[in-house]
């Protein structure tokens, strides 16, 4: 327990972080270890290259987008707080947690999870998934299996499906609506250490 506390103490503002993310001390320590492991040079922050070295991530067709999601625009580094906050999106929703009416929406809420997914598509951050943006993602994911024409028609059809205001792009609201029936809590959660 002593070591736990000492590790925790090393992290600044750990209380606030736990409050915001809902991670337990054990989680934080685990993530901190991982953070340090990724941060090979011990700078206290990660840059895109650090992520690039995770070799499984290189196999991921949309890996670079996901890495990009860790970095707020214009920034080249991510510190531990941001790192944990991003990962907190994927914490399963806990039902037992008392709901305080005034408390801000937890990071792992449904709409925050969706927002995370949405911004992976919306690379130019204009609040809309345009056809080209969708096409890029599709191309990455479907790869060689379909022809470019098919890809385009899939993209067209996908946009039509979700596009309610007929602007040929998917806004976040439309995105959310199109996934209304999907159980996001199940599909956008991973099990961190218990």
């Amino acid at each position: 327990m002593g070591s736990t506390n000492s590790t925790l103490l090393k992290i600044p503002n750990v209380e606030v972080l736990m409050q915001e993310t809902g991670f337990s001390p054990a989680h934080i320590i685990r993530l901190h270890d991982r953070f340090k492991a990724l941060d090979k040079e011990g700078r206290g922050h990660l840059c895109p290259q650090d992520f690039g070295e995770i070799k499984e991530l290189a196999m991921n067709p949309i890996g670079d987008r996901i890495i990009g999601a860790f970095f707020s625009p214009g920034k080249e580094t991510v510190d531990f707080h941001t790192f944990v906050k991003i990962l907190a999106h994927f914490r399963p929703v806990d039902k037992d947690r008392p709901k305080e009416p005034n408390s801000p929406e937890p990071i792992n809420s449904r709409s925050n999870k969706l927002k995370f997914a949405f911004q992976l598509y919306d690379q130019d951050k204009d609040g809309k998934i345009s056809r080209d943006e969708l096409l890029k993602v599709l191309r990455a994911m479907l790869g060689m299996q379909v022809t470019e024409e098919q890809l385009e028609s899939i993209a067209d059809r996908t946009i039509q499906e979700a596009d309610l205001d007929r602007d040929d792009a998917i806004s976040f609201e439309e995105f959310r609506k199109s996934l209304e029936k999907v159980n996001i809590d199940h599909k956008m959660s991973i099990r961190f250490l218990r």
Partner: protein
């Protein structure tokens, strides 16, 4: 009315039943049940044939030539079997007549009750139960197809992602149930709760083992009606399916112990028993996987014998069952894993028709035998000989199976919840426990007990029957109210959407990435590595090469959606009687027409209306109302033609028309023994394509395009630029970024748009004046040039040619993969894709750049 019908059918049933019975009265064989085992029936056949021959040859000293003779003994067995099948299915028909009853009592329960009635009739006539469910028949002829169907239709992904939990419940849960029920009953017996019985502890364990079989048939029948959420469904379903296999294994182990006798059992034997349990269970599963691989590889090459393609799978599945039985491995597990594993590859390898055939034939077999099982569970009960009543034994059995089932389920779920991402909540657990319906497997095992080893066999059999009735009827009836009362999460009705599919994929990638970043080997890690392995090796081995290309589920979803729309379109068009090309086109084959109609459906304006309903109706957005009426926007939205281009078009159409491909008539036989689509002629397709392209090219050399949907233009600057030089640079609309929103047309175009207002309808609905008809010129003038480009408008009238021409224009790929290539962009606003495509190829040969056409 319905009641009358029911009575009529019941009367019919009774008649059938008596006729069945009449048959047996003559030959008083005790075991003329349904479905003789093949050996038995063969023996019987030879028996009857010798009988018949003696009889027949006896009368060979006939005085005169008989015109007809009564040959009942010849056909007796198959006749009885067929009659019983018919009777059972009629029972099902009766059950399904009135839905107000089936919504209260599950169908399985009703069938059992009808079985009582039938059994009563047989008993009343024969004074003995001449028909009953014999274990051999049950295990070899009725069960396999049910298991195969259930496993083949298992939602694959869901099954494998919950495989851990399912296995825990199926293996540990079953052993727990068997052990505890057996021991507890034995304890009560020792305590004197059931009087004097000749049952030892091992026999009790054996009984416990057979009682632990949760029946998939009964469970599915009940759970399908209540629509519980999918995780709960797969847990119960998967568990009940695998649990059967485990039960049989367990039963065999205990059976061996019983025959070994108490004193001979030592530690070594027990260890052997445990080892054999695992070997039998996993060996059977492994054998199933091997057969799945065989089946998948076989379906790679069954293209030429499509008609029996489905048969291969059924036969091989059955063989996997029999092979496992032969090797004394678990047959049920074998066929289960066979079905689960081969499903994906079969679907990819075989063409859609065969897959549908397979599904349907499996369903027919499975549903049919399921019905028979339930009816015979009822019939078998009406037999004085099997009833040995022992209140204590029966009541305690019911109590214990329920109690221990709940205990097992709760405990195992508690353990599982420790490591589950989404814990199974309490109500779900309760329903799982309550869903432990016993069924035919338990009865089959009880019936195959050996009376020499187990003197109280009849007591066990009777008790099993009562337990089956108790669980299937009582629990079945109460299940629905219970689910409603507990507010168990129901399955969400989700439509297939591309968005859902694509985002699912994205989510998967995100999750694996997150796990990688956290440095954790989670569930997604395994999934991903399996997928990788599968992509690399398994698919290579088991899938056809072209199937590999198109196996992507997103593309599959896209394809399916398009097919759905097309079907919808055709249905609607036919109901309105407006699919002129279908009506008039009398080319040799129906399939051909149908297929083209499907493929080309999406070009038609009506589908747009459909589409908008389909896409947006769900969301209840007011947009729907706007979109439902596409016509006004259509006529505005399309490229308009100036007068010059109209005349150009007329010329073009003349040329086009002359060069259009008139489909050749092949005098093929309409009936073919081994093919059901005889009309796909690649050469023809190819020719149509080439000729179409050529004529279109010619026709548009001189044609000026109107305003294209600017959306597209803006997205395809390259195509736009190819268009400009030879198009009409003076067109003011060309520069407008959003032409389709801009309705001020140039002066000369106004006339055509005005006209378009008068003729907003789909051009196919205009009575088919052939293009050869000179009348086509005035018609051309009036027809709306808008949604479909003029050449389409015209060819729409030329019914013999239109489908192929349009379809080819739409789908200029090689005919072989025509199926896979769904029509492309279909949007209420995808106004005129053709114009775009043609614009871009104006100065290139179409053969060189088919992509430009396919683009739209």
């Amino acid at each position: 009315m319905a009641i009358l019908q029911q009575f009529a059918l019941l009367a019919l049933l009774i008649i059938f039943c008596t006729s069945c019975k009449a048959g047996t009265l003559e030959v008083n064989s005790a075991e003329v049940g349904l479905n003789y085992s093949s050996k038995a029936s063969a023996a019987e056949d030879t028996g009857t044939s010798t009988n018949g021959s003696t009889g027949g040859h006896g009368t060979s000293v006939i005085t005169t030539l008989p015109i007809v003779i009564w040959k009942w003994p010849h056909v007796e067995t198959p006749y009885l079997v067929a009659l019983w099948i018919l009777t059972c299915w009629l029972c099902k028909l009766v059950c399904e007549l009135n839905h107000s009853i089936t919504s209260v009592i599950p169908e399985s329960g009703l069938l059992i009750i009808l079985g009582f009635v039938l059994g009563g009739i047989v008993w009343g006539a024969d004074k003995a139960q001449t028909f009953k469910l014999i274990p051999v028949n049950f295990f070899y002829y009725l069960l396999p197809q049910i298991v195969l169907d259930a496993s083949y239709c298992m939602p694959n992904k869901l099954f494998f992602s919950n495989l851990g939990a399912i296995l825990v419940h199926a293996i540990i849960g079953t052993c727990w149930n068997a052990g505890t029920v057996g021991i507890a009953l034995w304890g009560c017996y020792e305590g004197g709760a059931m009087g004097n019985l000749n049952i030892g502890p091992l026999q009790f364990l054996l009984f416990g083992a057979l009682m632990s079989a949760v029946d998939p048939v009964a469970v599915i029948a009940v759970f399908e009606e209540v629509h519980v959420n999918e995780v709960l469904y797969i847990l119960v379903f998967g568990e009940s399916l695998l649990n059967d296999g485990v039960t049989v294994v367990l039963y065999n182990v205990f059976d061996a112990f019983v025959s070994l006798g108490g004193p001979k059992i030592n530690a070594a034997e027990i260890i052997k028993g445990i080892v054999s349990f695992f070997v039998v269970a996993f060996g059977g599963s492994f054998l199933g996987v091997v057969f799945a691989i065989l089946i998948s590889m076989l379906t790679r090459v069954t293209k030429n014998v499509q008609v029996i393609g489905a048969g291969f799978i059924i036969v091989l599945g059955y063989l996997s069952y029999l092979t496992a039985e032969m090797l004394s491995l678990s047959a049920i597990l074998s066929i289960t894993f066979c079905g689960v594993c081969c499903q994906k590859y079969i679907t990819a390898n075989m063409d859609e028709k065969s897959v549908t055939t397979l599904r349907y034939s499996l369903k027919v077999l499975a549903n049919g035998s399921e019905t028979m099982i339930f009816v015979f569970l009822g019939v078998s009960a009406i037999d004085k000989n099997i009833w040995v009543w022992n209140t204590g034994f029966i009541l305690l059995t019911i109590l214990f199976i329920v109690v221990f089932r709940f205990m097992g389920v709760f405990f195992l779920n508690w353990v599982l919840n420790q490591s589950r991402l989404i814990p199974i909540d309490l109500t779900d657990q309760f329903v799982m426990g309550y869903g432990g319906l016993r069924g035919a497997v338990a009865y089959g095992l009880a019936a195959s007990l050996d009376e020499k080893k187990i003197p109280e066999k009849n007591l066990m059999l009777g008790t099993t029957l009562i337990v089956v009735y108790f669980t299937v009827i009582l629990q079945g009836i109460t299940m629905k109210p219970l689910v409603q009362w507990l507010k168990v999460k129901k399955a969400t009705q989700s439509d297939l959407t591309l968005n859902g599919k694509i985002n699912n994929r994205t989510f998967e990638h995100i999750l694996t990435a997150m796990e990688d970043i956290c440095g954790r080997m989670g569930d997604n890690w395994w999934t991903r590595h399996w997928n990788y392995f599968e992509d690399k090796y398994v698919c290579w081995l088991l899938m056809k090469s072209d199937a590999r290309k198109h196996k992507d589920p997103i593309f599959g979803a896209f394809h399916k959606l398009n097919l759905e729309d097309a079907t919808k379109y055709v249905t609607e068009g036919e109901s309105k009687g407006s699919l002129a090309f279908i009506r008039n086109c009398d080319s040799a084959s129906v399939d051909f027409k149908k297929k083209l109609a499907l493929e080309y459906a999406d070009i038609m304006p009506d589908i747009m209306a459909d589409m908008s309903e389909y896409d947006f109706g769900i969301d209840n957005v007011p947009v729907t109302s706007v979109m439902k009426n596409p016509i006004p926007s259509v006529s505005l939205n399309i490229h308009e033609l100036d007068k010059k281009s109209v005349s150009d078009d007329l010329n073009a159409h003349h040329i086009l028309d002359q060069h259009l491909y008139k489909s050749r008539r092949y005098n093929r036989p309409t009936y073919s023994r081994s093919h059901y689509n005889t009309s796909e002629n690649p050469d023809e397709m190819q020719e149509i394509f080439q000729r179409t392209m050529r004529s279109r090219l010619e026709s548009f050399k001189s044609t000026k395009m109107g305003v294209n949907p600017a959306k597209k233009l803006s997205k395809h600057p390259k195509k736009d630029s190819t268009h400009k030089p030879n198009g009409k640079p003076a067109d003011p609309h060309r520069t407008h970024p959003y032409g389709d929103e801009d309705f001020e047309f140039s002066a000369d175009s106004a006339s055509s748009s005005e006209i378009a207002g008068h003729f907003p309808r789909r051009n196919t609905s205009t009575p088919g004046a052939g293009v050869d008809n000179p009348a086509f010129i005035p018609e051309m003038d009036t027809s709306p040039p808008m949604r479909n480009p003029p050449w389409q408008t015209e060819t729409g009238n030329n019914t013999a040619v239109a489908p192929s021409q349009r379809a080819q224009g739409r789908l200029p790929w090689t005919p072989t993969n025509l199926r896979h290539l769904a029509p492309l962009r279909m949007s209420t606003r995808s106004t005129d894709s053709f114009a775009m495509a043609d614009a871009s190829v104006d100065d290139e040969t179409p053969e060189e750049k088919p992509g430009a056409h396919t683009r739209l």
